[in-house]
Symmetry: C2
Subunit: 154 residues, 2 copies
């Protein structure tokens, strides 16, 4: 099945779309505590990586790693988290989440309960503010030149 | 850096090892509530996918999808979850987690707090028991024939 009328990922939201080709699209995730969080969404309604052709898998994973590279160069996170879950929305998509030692859930997954006390939360809020122009640069690089672009000098 | 003396993933544990080649190994995760949970661990001490060569990335991801295929054929889960996090142990490894609607965290990630009430927990415990021989078959297929093997008829 290529399209499911009730699936929230079958229709692109122009507000969050950064880049697309005929196979996939890269969207920003508006999660203020996780700067630079992106998703790569497969255009067709497929649930699993092994539901798509090997060449399509290659294309999707190549794009994931191109975007990871841009996130690392432009944001200098302590770690990158990659995940394809889809339990809630079984339409193939990858989470690409830059992580920092000071972020709310570190070193747990972002799906775990936050560990933050109020002092750490304030410090993290300042850190997010400092990261904002770098996130802008990441979004601009993707939207103007795509995932294969050479990154601008940070 | 290829080896880190303090890293728990730099040394293979023979008790959980199912299969290995010179680049990676497949290990079972003894998490009784998640039957068929496997990890694929890169042999060298690297943190990120973009820290290894493109050909190595290809080999690692090909193995991930081969194992996903075996998990789907032999266990028939409702969903497969794939994740490379490494916040706690920054040594490249993939989580391959078969998921079922009745498992403790579904539809959340396995790193979220469990949703189970006692009645669902008992039902899930029975389901895990029923899955055990299929998990055995998965482990046997991997340990005797590797991830590229044709699966035995379930």
């Amino acid at each position: 099945m290529d399209f499911s009328p009730d699936c929230p990922l079958c229709t692109a939201n122009p507000d969050t779309l950064l880049w697309r080709d005929d196979k996939l699209r890269i969207i920003r995730v508006d999660e203020p505590r996780y700067p630079g969080y992106l998703r790569i969404v497969w255009q067709r309604h497929k649930a699993e990586m092994t539901d798509i052709d090997p060449m399509d898998r290659l294309h999707l994973m190549r794009t994931v790693f191109q975007v990871e590279r841009l996130q690392r160069i432009l944001l200098r996170p302590d770690k990158i988290n990659l995940a394809s879950l889809g339990n809630q929305v079984p339409h193939l998509h990858w989470h690409l989440i830059p992580r920092w030692r000071g972020d709310p859930c570190f070193p747990d997954a972002v799906w775990a309960p936050p560990r933050h006390d109020p002092a750490r939360a304030a410090a993290w809020s300042d850190a997010c503010e400092a990261l904002a122009p770098h996130v802008e640069r990441l979004h601009l690089a993707l939207s103007t030149r795509g995932p294969a672009a050479e990154p601008p000098r940070a």
